[in-house]
């Protein structure tokens, strides 16, 4: 009987539809409702509405996942109608699905564009969901729609501050402060914004006002104190926190903050006492132990600091800051191996952190200084014999040292300049010899007859080129003397003067060797003559070398500031080649031209050299005094420049 009676009902239930749904819902069989909805054919709008009802039922039965599923189905089926969007937004935000809640609110806003509360809700959901930019957009829109709302302005200001847009945050919070000037919470937020926008005075005034409005409110007092701490008013902050602690001595957070204030005032002992009180109230906060360890470390109580960091790490094994501090303590107390293992953990946890890598490198370096991880014990220092007296070096000794240095530099230069070639320094000799031979050959073949002076073209060019080479080689070689010897200048005994003059001396020696070898060669071939006046030849070479040195010192200084100077200088020496009477004698020139050329000291040097070589050559324009004066002047200028620019010529690594 009962079977037959129930049969129709069951048949009814099997025919899916709103009626069956209602029955199951009333009977509290929610899964059956779900089943009905899954099978029945209804318009989307109706189906969505039913899903909403089911979702609500699930929610109140505490079956959140099922509630969310149903709401999702409803929202996907037909998000348009306000009732559905409204419900979905409500359900999603209550179930912590803030992303979907935000979408539902956006749907609602679409149908009610001027709805300020909707924007505010959407903003809140987006903010919780972590989409700060969209949250800010809605918050600003809400403020625009309802400019008189303090809560909206505070919300927008807080979001903007969180996004680091402090100027805008300050503007909104200022608006909120205007609406509710007596709200300490608003004032505190405004103070924080003022601090972030670089207005510490305003921030301090606001924090004080906030505190004065509700001095007995715990959160207000601590917040205000923190603002004052950040504004570096440590004493005032300490007073406020102390007043708070007088009310409730068991307040761990307040004690922690007091400890920070004491620390900033340099009262490390009191800071430790405060953090000890904080730990007595709440012993399980890792950060408190970390702070205590830092304080102990500052006091040099390394073992206790290490123990404090250990406790912090026991409470919070992932606390990298505690590990980093522990590393420092181990490092400073010489526990290199412990430091090493902590460093390894740090690098494993944060492989991209440069600071950790640096710290680890430091530990590793220290590890290398130790043998088997232990420091070498050198033992007691043996009794020291009485130290020998030391007299500062006299002129003679200083000069001898300089001589040694320049000598060593010259030898080094001969070894390194042609380091790649097997001939080595031989190249330095061969090069100018070949140069003079080819040129002489060229002119000897090109021009017939007798040279202007003497009987051999070879000797004639030789007498022109040797003084010219002394000048050009000396002055040009000094260009890079300083820049290419920068590392040597780190040896205290080596000065810029030494490296410059060493090059000049080497060039002089080389050119003299070339001159002697060539002359001997000419003599062997039967072309040669000995110079008539050896003293005059030597004097002219000395004068042009001094002039070359003067120009060289000037070059070295200019190259120190202008790297391409040597190219300009090389062009100038090439012009000199034609203006110095190497392959002609100035006597061939018209008077006006010779008068101009006579300003060139090299021309005088060559004529001095020639007039000493050939005693019958006695040019009337030759002015030895001019050459000597030019040489001395150049040298003085060069030395003065070198002395003045010495420290700036090279940058030590």
């Amino acid at each position: 009987m009962s079977d037959t009676l129930e049969l129709p009902a069951e048949l009814e239930a099997d025919a899916p539809g709103p009626a069956a749904f209602d029955r199951a819902l009333h009977a509290g069989e929610l899964d059956a409702c779900r089943d009905v909805l899954g099978r029945c054919e209804l318009p989307a709008r109706e189906l969505a509405a039913l899903n909403c009802r089911l979702s609500e039922a699930f929610f109140y039965r505490d079956r959140r996942e099922a509630a969310i599923d149903c709401a999702r189905i409803a929202f996907e089926l037909h998000p348009r109608p306000q009732s559905i969007a409204d419900f979905c937004a409500w359900l999603f935000s209550n179930c912590g699905r803030h992303h979907e809640a935000a979408a539902a609110y956006e749907q609602l806003i679409e149908s009610r564009p001027g709805w300020a509360d909707g924007h505010r809700h959407a903003s809140g959901s987006f903010a919780v969901a972590g989409e700060l930019d969209r949250a800010i957009l809605h918050a600003i829109r809400a403020c625009e729609l309802e400019p008189g709302s303090c809560e909206f302005a505070v919300h927008a200001g807080s979001l903007l501050a969180g996004a680091g847009r402090h100027q805008e945050a300050f503007a909104y919070l200022t608006r909120a402060g205007g609406i509710a000037p007596g709200d300490p919470g608003v004032l505190r937020r405004l103070a924080a914004a003022a601090l972030a926008t670089g207005q510490p005075e305003a921030a301090i005034a606001l924090a004080r006002r906030a505190y004065a409005l509700a001095p007995c409110d715990r959160a207000n007092a601590l917040d205000a104190a923190e603002l004052l701490l950040r504004a570096q008013l440590f004493d005032e902050a300490a007073r406020i926190i102390a007043a708070r602690l007088a009310v409730d001595g068991e307040d761990g957070a307040a004690s922690r903050m007091l400890s920070a204030a004491h620390m900033q005032r340099g009262r490390l002992q009191e800071a430790i006492e405060a953090i000890d009180r904080a730990l007595a109230a709440t012993p399980t906060i890792a950060e408190y132990h970390l702070h205590r360890g830092d304080l102990l470390y500052r006091l040099g109580r390394l073992d206790e600091a290490a123990a404090a960091f250990d406790r912090a790490l026991a409470l919070d094994p992932d606390n990298l800051a505690a590990r980093r501090s522990q590393l420092t303590v181990y490092f400073d107390s010489g526990r290199v191996r412990d430091a090493l293992s902590i460093g390894g953990e740090l690098i494993r946890s944060a492989p991209d952190n440069e600071e950790y890598a640096q710290a680890m490198l430091q530990v590793l370096n220290r590890r290398f200084e130790t043998f088997d991880g232990d420091y070498v014990v050198l033992g007691e220092r043996p009794a020291r014999p009485s130290r020998r007296g030391y007299a500062p070096p006299g002129w003679g000794a200083a000069l001898a040292t300089q001589g040694r240095v320049v000598h060593a530099l010259i030898i080094r230069e001969t070894r390194t300049r042609f380091g790649d070639s097997t001939l080595g320094y031989g190249w330095a000799l061969l090069e100018p010899i070949l140069h003079i031979l080819t040129l002489s050959l060229f002119f000897a073949v090109l021009m017939h007859g007798r040279p202007p002076i003497g009987s051999q073209f070879f000797i004639f060019y030789y007498t022109g080129l040797i003084p010219y080479h002394v000048f050009v080689h000396t002055s040009s070689s000094m260009n890079y003397a300083v820049t290419s010897n920068g590392s040597l200048l780190q040896l205290p005994l080596v000065s810029t003067f030494d490296v410059i003059i060493a090059r000049g001396l080497l060039e002089l020696v080389t050119d003299l060797l070339v001159a002697v070898v060539l002359l001997a060669g000419f003599g062997a071939l039967g072309l040669g003559t000995m110079p008539d006046n050896l003293a005059g030849v030597a004097a002219s070479i000395a004068a042009i070398w001094v002039f070359g040195c003067g120009c060289g010192f000037i070059n070295a200084v200019i190259t120190g500031f202008c790297k391409s100077w040597d190219k300009i200088w090389n062009q100038m020496t090439r012009i000199l080649y034609f203006c110095s009477g190497i392959f002609y004698v100035p006597g061939m020139m018209p008077d006006w031209l010779r008068n101009i050329l006579a300003w060139n000291p090299v021309l005088h040097a060559i004529d001095w050299f020639r007039s000493s070589f050939f005693v019958d050559y006695d040019p009337h324009w030759l002015d030895r005094t001019f050459l000597v004066a030019a040489a001395v002047a150049a040298l003085l200028v060069g030395l003065a420049l070198e002395r003045a620019a010495r420290h700036r010529l090279y940058e030590p690594q």
Binding site: D294, Y297, R298, L299, G300, D332, G334, N365, R366, F368, E369, F371, D372, Y375, V376, V377, L378, G379, R381, P382, R384, P385, R387, Y390, P392, A400, T401, R404, V405, H407, A408, I411, R412, R415, T416, G419, D420, S487, L488, L489, Q490, L491, P492, L493, V494, R646, H647, P652, Q653
Partner: protein, 220 residues
């Protein structure tokens, strides 16, 4: 004895001017080993180079009443194209040491063997450091300047260095820049702390260390 008289030294860096010393007056007396303490970037290396004379102060004078070494282990002056032997000979010439004696000592101490006659370019960093260390020990300085002892060679070679140093410390002083308190206590009896352009000398290494720790803490 090395004396600083009104010495000032500053650098232009990318982040602006950095003062290493500002009107520093200090005397590193003979017969004492000094440890120089300073946080990274305080200018310990610069101070060592000023003491060595590798660098000149902007103002003031550094007086040296002794033969002061170049910073120990500093191999920057070696010419890459020259062999270890030629580089050692160069240093012997500069410092007026007997060339034969110096070359023999360096050849023996550096243990470079056949590399001693090959260009320094072909050396590894460790070989270079060994050559530099040997060259510095070969010259008879009154004061050795050491900038942060770092890894040189293998363990056996480091032991040898420590032993050579122990002998040398019987007649020479050292000035050591480091931030390793252990090394400092081991080698030095006096200390100096370099911070924010000021140089403080302490008769007791412990006092210098505690001052250094305070500075470290103020910084954190």
């Amino acid at each position: 004895m090395i004396a600083l008289e009104g010495v000032a030294k500053a650098y232009r860096t990318r982040s602006g001017r950095r003062t290493v010393l500002d009107n520093a007056n200090a005397v590193f007396g003979a017969g004492h080993n000094f440890g120089i303490l300073g946080v990274n970037g305080a200018g310990k290396s610069t101070l060592i180079r000023l003491l060595a004379g590798s660098e000149q102060p902007d103002r003031g004078i550094v007086r040296r009443g002794a033969r002061v070494s170049f910073p120990l282990g500093f191999g920057g002056t070696f010419h890459g194209a020259l062999s270890g032997r030629e580089n050692a000979a160069f240093l012997a010439r500069i410092y007026g040491a007997r060339r034969r004696t110096m070359i023999d000592y360096v050849a023996d101490f550096s243990e470079l063997d056949e590399y001693f006659d090959m260009p320094v370019n072909t050396y590894s960093a460790g070989m270079r450091a060994r050559l530099a260390f040997a060259a510095c020990l070969a010259i008879d300085f009154d004061v050795y300047l050491i900038d942060e002892v770092t890894e040189i060679g293998d363990q056996r070679f480091r032991r040898k260095c420590a032993e050579a140093f122990r002998q040398r410390m019987a007649r020479s002083d050292i000035i050591l820049a480091t931030h390793n308190p252990q090394t400092l206590r081991q080698y030095c009896d006096r200390g100096a702390v370099l911070a924010d352009g000021a140089l403080f000398l302490y008769d007791d290494i412990g006092a210098a260390l505690s001052r250094y720790h305070r500075i470290l803490h103020e910084r954190n």
